[in-house]
């Protein structure tokens, strides 16, 4: 029993790691292509057909780059920081049901590593721990740009932590469970049961917070190349930088999954169509990240903070209050 569970878990974890590492790669390819088409150019075209092998080329480049640890950094923390970003991103994936359960060779597979009953809390918590990557990396880098980037990262992450926490509170009041499976099943009745329609404010607040927590335009402040070079990643190179990168893209995918499951009905009733619908929703959210990047400028750090504390947070609190009243009466 134990051994079987262990084997199954290890297989699942390996599959998730492989799939999402690859997806992070493909994510960059899609990002380049989508941005390119929106910007009337072609994007990568030279490596492989339609530039598809660009990902492999990038990977080879990152893996074989010279290992540089700049003078004056704190080497141990400098090395640990990227691991934290990548590890926490994938650890967060443990409680996300990526697909409905299916049977293969007579063996029922649950595409979720651990169906813990506090799923959403665990995911949010893990993503929050991911803050330590930029924080420690930036502080250890002995670079002033990294330092400013770290200061921004802390302020942005923790501010939006509050917003996303308050935003999901209202849907959770309706569902009465923290497990993502339960949340999904709550909306199994079809499109009219989606939480996005009963909790539009919470949905949009969480969506905005997702942009801040993944550091995407218009909240692309932490590694804003026009001001801070690459922010906390300025002194990093090779695979250490690659780990930050994988972590960021994996986070984008996972947060897209969370949004799709929490607000847009997830995989619905668990049919094959539902599974594809889930992937479609995730793809939409991911695409939306890219779309925004093509369309909008970035905000300024103080404007971002203004938005959180003076607009989004009061809105989230009011949303919780109204939900409470509606549920009671």
């Amino acid at each position: 029993m134990d051994t079987a569970l262990l084997v199954e878990t290890v297989i699942k974890i390996v599959v998730i790691l492989l799939v999402f590492s690859a997806l992070a790669g493909f994510g960059t390819y899609f990002e380049r292509k989508v941005l390119a088409f929106m910007q009337r150019r072609l994007g990568p075209m030279n490596v492989g057909p339609y530039g598809l092998l660009q990902i492999a080329a990038d990977g080879i480049k990152l893996f074989t780059k010279e290992d540089i640890i700049p003078a004056g950094v704190v080497p141990l923390i400098f090395k640990i920081a990227p691991v934290i970003t990548a590890a926490t991103a994938f650890m967060a994936a443990a409680a996300i049901p990526f697909l409905p359960s299916f049977t293969i060779f007579g063996y029922e597979v649950h595409p979720i590593v651990a169906d813990i009953n506090i799923g959403i809390l665990y995911v949010m918590g893990m993503m929050a721990v991911g803050l330590y990557g930029p924080l420690l990396g930036g502080l250890a880098s002995n670079n002033k740009y990294s330092l400013i980037s770290t200061a921004r990262a802390v302020a942005v992450f923790i501010s939006y932590e509050v917003v996303s926490g308050l935003a999901i509170l209202a849907p959770l009041m309706m569902v009465g469970s923290l497990s993502l499976l339960d949340i999904n099943d709550y909306q199994a009745g079809g499109i009219t049961h989606w939480i996005a329609f009963s909790q539009p404010v919470a949905f949009i607040l969480f969506w905005i917070a997702a942009f801040a927590e993944t550091g995407r335009t218009p909240f692309h402040l932490i590694a804003n190349d026009h001001e801070l070079i690459d922010g906390f990643g300025t002194e990093y190179s090779g695979m250490r930088w690659g780990l930050f990168f994988i972590g960021e893209y994996a986070n984008m995918f996972f947060i897209s999954f969370v949004m799709a499951i929490m607000f847009l009905g997830g995989y619905g009733d668990g049919s094959v169509a539902g599974a594809f619908a889930l992937l479609g929703k995730v793809a939409f959210f991911f695409f939306f990240f890219l779309w925004t990047r093509a369309a909008w400028p970035d905000v300024r750090p103080d404007q971002l903070m203004w938005l959180t504390w003076k607009v989004l947070m009061p809105l989230a609190v009011i949303n919780v209050v109204i939900t409470g009243f509606v549920l009671m009466f």
Binding site: K65, D67, A94, V154, M173, T234, M328
Partner: protein, 120 residues
């Protein structure tokens, strides 16, 4: 404790930390680092003659935000169990929580008035 829940978490923690650490070995794949002084110079727009390094103190204007965050995030943690058990707690629970949130809101207004939300 339910091992079905927590065994996988332990496994995924170990794997996801171990594999990125293995990535550090990639330094043996490429060229060996020349480790010269110029190469290891910390980047500051190409200026070597800089006044101070980054380990000096830096006035993080929004450190107050961190403190406010601790305040509010802990409150939100209190709200999660309440949100799950809203129906059992009934009207009394609801009113109790709203009083609590009212206190929080008053706190936010106080912070606002005090000017702690000005971080420019």
């Amino acid at each position: 404790m339910n091992e079905q829940f927590y065994l996988p978490l332990v496994v995924i923690t170990i794997t996801t930390i171990a594999i990125p650490f293995l990535f550090h070995l990639s330094k043996y794949l490429g060229e060996k680092s020349m480790n010269t002084n110029n190469q290891n110079e910390v980047y500051e727009s190409g200026i070597q003659n800089t006044h101070k390094d980054s380990f000096e103190r830096f006035n993080v204007k929004y450190y107050l935000v961190a403190i406010i965050f601790v305040l509010f995030d802990v409150e939100i943690l209190f709200m999660f169990p309440w949100a799950l058990n809203l129906r059992e707690l009934g009207l009394f629970g609801l009113i109790e929580m709203f009083v609590f949130m009212g206190l929080l809101g008053a706190g936010l207004i106080y912070i606002y008035k005090k000017g702690a939300l000005k971080w420019t």
